[in-house]
């Protein structure tokens, strides 16, 4: 009788064990370095520091240390992550826009996003066009139909925002005069001064500016549902070039605030990290803190991110050619 009871309990216990039991003790006593590809402060740093606090909780015995490795528009940080030993003790975050740098074969790129070990992502990166309330243009259509070039502020040449502005100009035939060199929030100030009419950026970062009455969302280039009332760029994409480029930007928008490790990470470590990240991103404490910091959280697993990245990077040569044309 006892033997049978034991047997039944054993089976019952086995049945309740989690299906994908990654060994979260695998980092016990170890220090994991989380590389942030920007200087301290700012969005990536904030997300990163918040994330590691919770990942530490879900990987008992581990200690996380944040290391800032800024330079060359996140390229130095990404190179550093890519070149690190793939033992799971070095991971990090950088701008999703580096996909453009890889597609355009920018000099200095020493990483291959196809091969890196994707751990997950924390948010969306919805790209939107904000137009200044002080400008005479009340809608995207008015800009599209403008007889004179419309001044758009963009960050440095080669940055994601610059490339996307060029995509609008080149593929959607919007009459734009790009004024580059506006870093951080300088573009918003330029709009308040009525120097420029519009800029492309991440919806979440520009939300406050819009709420304060400085501007309005005129267009969203992404198919995410973060801005439901705003017209989508895909409506204006008439030819193959436009459709493919808008699709590229849109797919990229699903990946924001990513966490990734170097290529060749052993499956056990990768699984543990993936699980810890997902658990963190769903943790009620984490979500409460993120809400307080005004950081939207739209998590996705490493596997999903990996699939998306591979899909983006294995674009047809025509898309890459379109992109090259737009970025030149």
């Amino acid at each position: 009788m006892l033997k049978r009871l034991l047997a039944i309990s054993a089976v019952a216990l086995a049945a309740t064990a989690p299906a994908h039991a990654a060994d979260n003790n695998i980092f016990n006593g170890k220090t994991i370095t989380y590389i942030v590809a920007t200087a301290p402060g700012g969005g990536y740093d904030t997300y990163g520091r918040l994330t590691v606090r919770y990942m530490q909780k879900y990987l008992p015995g581990s200690r996380f240390v944040v290391k800032n490795v800024p330079g060359a528009g996140h390229i130095v940080g990404a190179n550093t992550i890519s070149a690190a030993r793939p033992d799971g003790l070095t991971i990090g975050t950088f701008n999703t826009g580096l996909v453009y740098d890889q597609l355009l074969k920018r000099p200095g790129v020493r990483f291959d996003l196809n091969k890196m070990s994707w751990i997950g992502k924390a948010s969306n990166d919805t790209r939107a066009l904000v137009v200044s309330k002080k400008s005479p243009y009340k809608s995207f259509d008015e800009i599209l139909n403008s007889k004179t070039p419309v001044k758009f502020a963009a960050s440095g040449i080669g940055s994601a925002a610059y490339i996307e502005t060029r995509i609008l100009q080149d593929a959607l035939h919007v009459p734009i005069q790009i004024v580059p060199g506006y870093d951080g929030n300088e573009a918003e100030l330029a709009m308040l001064r009525n120097e420029v009419v519009a800029q492309i950026g991440t919806a979440n970062s520009l939300e406050q500016f819009v709420n304060n009455g400085g501007g309005y969302f005129a267009l969203t280039i992404s198919e995410t549902n973060d801005l439901p009332m705003v017209p989508k760029a895909s409506q204006y994409a008439k030819d193959d070039r436009a459709k493919k480029l808008v699709a590229l930007v849109s797919t990229l928008s699903h990946i924001g605030r990513l966490t990734v490790g170097p290529p060749g990470m052993p499956p056990a470590q990768l699984a543990a990290l993936r699980e810890a990240l997902m658990a963190s991103l769903k943790d009620p404490g984490f979500l409460a803190e993120a809400k307080k910091l005004d950081l939207p959280i739209v998590p996705a697993s490493g596997a999903e991110v990996e699939a998306l990245i591979k899909q983006i990077l294995n674009q047809g040569t025509d898309t890459v050619a379109y992109l090259n044309h737009a970025a030149s």
């Binding site: 301290p40 402060g41 904030t46 040449i157 580059p180 929030n185 100030l189 304060n212």
Partner: protein, 537 residues
């Protein structure tokens, strides 16, 4: 003028023990972060954010502001005592502050520095409070055209800061500008002078420039000569204080023990009294800098150097600056501290940070639940005033603490040269690494430090170089934007014309000044040194 809100918030701050306590511990933290090269207020803020996280909005914001307000004051300590600047603006303090230490006047330099920082910070806060209502139109009046002209005005100071070595100073300034061009070209995105090195894409950082021009040459020079006192310089100031005369008598044979820097409270008070004596200079610098700080885009480093440049320009004997003029310390320190107050404004009202430190503050404010924007003025006026007062109160706490600790702090100046050198070199290299995050910066500092030493050795002025490095990027960036936005016509706006007039006036003034006979110079120098003897206890 919101007088009721202003007063009630002040009373609240002073009577809430928790807030007072937090401000009191924030101050030493700020001083520590400021006095370690490369750490700077930015990193300090980032590291404090987790601590501040759970606090109510007002408490957290007050704590961070208080810490940030005194960072530059902290930076003045190593600048004056050891010639090692903590950041860009601190290098301006090194020019005359360290020279004063070499003349045996460390205490006076410290006193002047503490006094000027405090008054500068207070004035900046006052300016902030008074201009709350006219703020928005003022910020919006300045466009890239004005930034370019302001940067150009600052560049004309290069001539002013060259002392007697006009040609060398000019070359030094141009060299600084060339170094500023290293990186990605803003108009085409092409690499300039980067030679394939990724870490140079963003240019040479100000910390690397300033440490390689001031800290490293000083340490190498110390290693060669073996002492921080220069007997020749000390002898020239002989008669000022007894121990300087003793130093002059010592033979030049390293490694000699440097004279003990005995700093009495009397010296410190003398320095602080200097601030009162030069009150108009302090007022002018504070206003100039707070105004510049308010306009995002010019940057805090530039503002502080503009104050120093103005100080030099407005004095009777510009060529004596760099040899230990107390006004130099006063101008530089007022500038560094007043700018922080100024840059709080666009941060709060537009969500656009006025300086890099403010960028972090902005993140912190958002985290605390404060939404920067026009609503701050209408719904959160109490928070705005509390922050202004926090800046002011922190400065007062800071000066009290520093003056009390001054004699011990000053001991730093008399640490044996041999001990100081290796520590400072490691610290300087560490600062560069922490700030930039790339080890290649260390190699860069090796190269630039060597050049910096040769500059020092052969009397090439180094201040113009720093001006070039700070203002070069601003000038180029603004010029390109101005031309893109409006073409040449952009420069014919009212404020631009005023600035053009200022630039021409500044150059003309300099030319006129350099025609004055040398006699006047000797007379004025004597006047500066001929102040009543202070009896040392």
């Amino acid at each position: 003028m919101h007088l009721d809100v202003a007063l009630s918030t002040l009373v609240h701050l002073l009577t809430t023990p928790q807030l007072l306590f937090l401000m009191t511990i924030a101050v030493p933290m700020g001083i520590f972060f400021g006095s370690t090269p490369g750490l700077g207020g930015k990193l300090g803020l980032v590291l404090l954010i987790p601590i501040v996280f759970g606090m109510p909005a007002l408490t957290g914001a007050v704590f961070l502001c208080a810490m940030h307000a005194v960072v530059h004051t902290g930076g003045s300590i190593p600048s004056i005592l050891v010639g090692v600047p903590g950041d860009g603006p601190a290098a301006a303090t090194v020019l005359d502050g360290y020279a004063m230490t070499k003349k045996g006047l460390a205490g006076r330099a410290l006193g002047a520095s503490f006094g000027a920082s405090t008054v500068g910070g207070l004035l900046g806060a006052v300016f902030l409070g008074l201009s709350l209502s006219i703020l928005e139109p003022m910020i919006l009046m300045f466009s890239p055209a004005e930034f370019f002209l302001l940067a150009l005005l600052g560049i004309t100071f290069i001539a002013m800061l060259s002392g007697n070595n006009f040609l060398k100073g000019l070359i030094s300034g141009f060299f600084g500008l060339m170094v500023a061009f290293i990186g990605l070209d803003p108009s085409t995105g092409d690499e300039r002078y980067t030679f394939g090195q990724l870490f140079l894409w963003d240019g040479v950082s100000i910390i690397v420039s300033v440490l390689s021009m001031f800290a490293i040459p000083e340490m190498i020079s110390l290693g060669v000569k073996g002492r921080s006192f220069d007997p020749a310089v000390a002898a020239a100031a002989a008669g000022k204080s007894e121990f300087v005369a003793r130093a002059a008598a010592e033979p030049v044979s390293p490694p000699a023990r440097p004279m003990k820097v005995k700093v009495s409270y009397a010296q410190i008070w003398e320095g602080m009294w200097d601030v009162v004596v030069h009150k108009w200079l302090v007022l002018r610098c504070a206003l100039l800098v707070a105004a510049i700080g308010v306009i995002p885009g010019l940057g805090g480093d530039a503002a502080a150097w503009m104050a120093y440049g103005h100080t030099v320009q407005s004095s009777k004997n510009p060529e004596t600056f760099g040899t230990g003029r107390v006004e130099g310390v006063i101008g530089a320190e007022t500038g560094s501290c007043a700018k922080e107050a100024g840059s709080l404004l666009p941060t709060l009202f537009f969500g656009v940070p006025g300086s890099s430190g403010m960028a972090i503050m902005l993140g912190a404010f958002l985290m605390l639940g404060l939404q920067p924007g026009p609503t701050m003025l209408t719904e959160h006026l109490d928070i705005v005033w509390s922050l202004i007062w926090a800046l002011a109160i922190a400065n007062v706490i800071c000066v009290i603490m520093l003056v009390a600790a001054a004699p011990w702090i000053a001991k730093l100046g008399s640490v044996k040269a041999g001990f100081l050198i290796p520590y400072v070199i490691v610290l300087a290299l560490l600062g560069c690494y922490i700030y930039g995050g790339n080890w290649q910066n260390l190699v860069l500092i090796a190269v630039m430090g060597s050049i910096g030493y040769m500059f020092k050795r052969h009397d090439w002025p180094r201040a113009p170089f720093v001006i070039g490095v700070i203002l070069g990027p601003i000038a180029e960036d603004s010029l390109l934007k101005s031309l893109a936005l409006g073409g040449i016509g952009f420069f014919f706006r009212p404020i631009s014309m005023v600035l053009v007039a200022l630039i021409i006036g500044s150059i003309a003034f300099y030319i006129y000044r350099s025609r004055k006979p040398a006699l006047n110079k000797a007379a004025a120098v004597k006047q500066d040194l001929g102040k009543p003897e202070v009896k040392h206890a």
